[in-house]
Symmetry: C2
Subunit: 366 residues, 2 copies
Amino acid sequence: MTKMSDPTGRGAKRAGIRDVARLAGVAPMTVSRALSFPHLVSAETREKVAAAIAATGYIPNRVASSLSSNQTMTIGAVIPTLRNSIAADFAEGFNQVLRARGYHLLLGNSEFVPEDEEAIVVEFLSRRVDGIYLTGSTHTERTRKLLRDNAVPTVEIASLPEDPIDLAVGFSNFGAAYAVTKMFAEQGYRKVALFTTFTKDNERQVERQAGYHAAVHEFGLDDDPEGLVAELEMDLKAAARQLRLLLERRPDVEALFCTGDFIAAGALFEAQRLGLTVPQDLAIAGFEGLEIAENLNPSLTTVRIPRYEIGRKAGEMLLDRIARRPVETPVVDLGFEIIRRESTAATAGQPKVRAEAGERPAGTGG
Amino acid sequence: MTKMSDPTGRGAKRAGIRDVARLAGVAPMTVSRALSFPHLVSAETREKVAAAIAATGYIPNRVASSLSSNQTMTIGAVIPTLRNSIAADFAEGFNQVLRARGYHLLLGNSEFVPEDEEAIVVEFLSRRVDGIYLTGSTHTERTRKLLRDNAVPTVEIASLPEDPIDLAVGFSNFGAAYAVTKMFAEQGYRKVALFTTFTKDNERQVERQAGYHAAVHEFGLDDDPEGLVAELEMDLKAAARQLRLLLERRPDVEALFCTGDFIAAGALFEAQRLGLTVPQDLAIAGFEGLEIAENLNPSLTTVRIPRYEIGRKAGEMLLDRIARRPVETPVVDLGFEIIRRESTAATAGQPKVRAEAGERPAGTGG
DNA sequence: CTGTCGAATGGTACCGGTACCATTACCCAA
DNA sequence: TTGGGTAATGGTACCGGTACCATTCGACAG
């Protein structure tokens, strides 16, 4: 209880390593060692140091430590927004790995604007983070150059970039969208619509559209980008509105693929309000594999993404790189899985299927 | 283009402020000033410095800056988990305010374990964050003592603690739960069930249970804690299971209040699968005011929490405190609002109401 | 008995900024 | 002419750790 309660409000100078050393009767270096490399210090000394630390209420200053040792034990993470549950899941898995190894996350929100991301990256470099986590692979040229020139370990999440800045972990957005569209085609659907979120500066959505179009062409589906495809915000209400517009443009639409489970849910709810039966009148598939998908009535066919695994793998790879351990593959594909549920019939016109079995296509079509 | 590409992989020593100063023909102090207080430097000098910075690719080292100036421009935030969308929304609003003023967020996940929170707080203190953001008001004694003794500006989010560590922004969890239960009572419901998430180390849920019980007693509702109340994880499937159990225990239950919209959604879906009509057979109300609530069929009565506002207000108050500006009220109540929708009838037994009007009870019942 | 080695500890400089104070030049009022 | 004031800049020490090297000492081999 040597601590003082600071009546001045100014903060009575905190104890430093030299104070602890004095009290323990050793050199500051020994205190530092006792904390960082206890095995290099005799048990006796360690105890004296521990006692002095307890007595002074000493809290090591990692800012000074970082400056001196040139490592901050901090990773800078750029995440478009925490509202996006899939991005939050990636980050959660990533953070778990970091924390276990003493690293902490410095957070920045880009709101999907590459220029904002760049500013955040500069800030991170300024803070000398040991590594950087980026969402997606859409970045400004300067962001790439900055990271490469400064040789900062970097991992890009969610996509499989052709030309990664450094490391990347994700799945094939193209392949997943292609696979879903193909599934519809094989079930006999010809008029398959697509709802994606905005594709501006979001290569994941671009890839998904591309996968859809590839399958549309390959399987000779109704190819009507104006009528069957729409971009909208990730928002249930927007999905409802777009569904009404879609039905006006193409009342004959048979199936709808949404690149987000919440969009799919919004469309499903609106379809039901309009008196349509899913999947008989309209089949619907989602994307992401959120928990809600399997609980809807009817349960929602979706694409399961290994969200935590991607985050965790990214963490491990990044820490390997930081420790200068060899990294086998810089770009890792963790695949995806189509979960067929009630919202899509096994065959167009033959509804009421209850298959829950997963199908695992090669997640490498990107 | 003076930058070198670092063929050794070791990182050719980065340019420091002294290098920039030499190149610009000024003192290091002048470079520092040109960056931090440009108005104290002549335009001519500023240009020379800018040129030298561009030429060297200099990126200021904020670690050194922090050590010297004793401020890190960093706030440590403890958030139970990012998966929790309401906590993520608080953090998002908070972060917006911070970023605008040059602060960044250092993130820690406590997973609802106070001891883990304590460890994170120690780590934050070690990193000399300028302020701390905590979720809820359940903390270990040592956490409180540490923060107070070190006089670290701190804001607690989501609750209205009797004895705040420093600052707090939230709403009355007790009051909101009381108000919903009262609403049911006034509509004539007598058998009102409650689903909350686990109350262990989560005073928000404890408060909500307390508010429910207070109303149950006050309005003479069926008081059956064993039969009508359940704790479960925040999970749609768990909600479905608990609904089945509830209906076994109390087939006569008339209404269900869930302290989370996802729990309410899970219960609603399961009720529909079981062939019940909501609200005729069972009325359901949620909590949080998530987007999904208003899109469900039937749309969900819920309690809207001003999530972003709480986050933003917390950011503003914390920054005020850091800047030693006076703070009028340390504990701020931002209230709540009950949104009545289709999932609860206007009167028990008289369903099919479509009121969307909000009701604003005093958010001060805690 | 001397040399070598490992374990434990200490001394010193340095990481890269900034706080603080000094200095210089110049203008204006008294 | 002199003193006071402001604008612009510089010098130096210091923030609080750690890297690096030196030192001491006892054990043990030759």
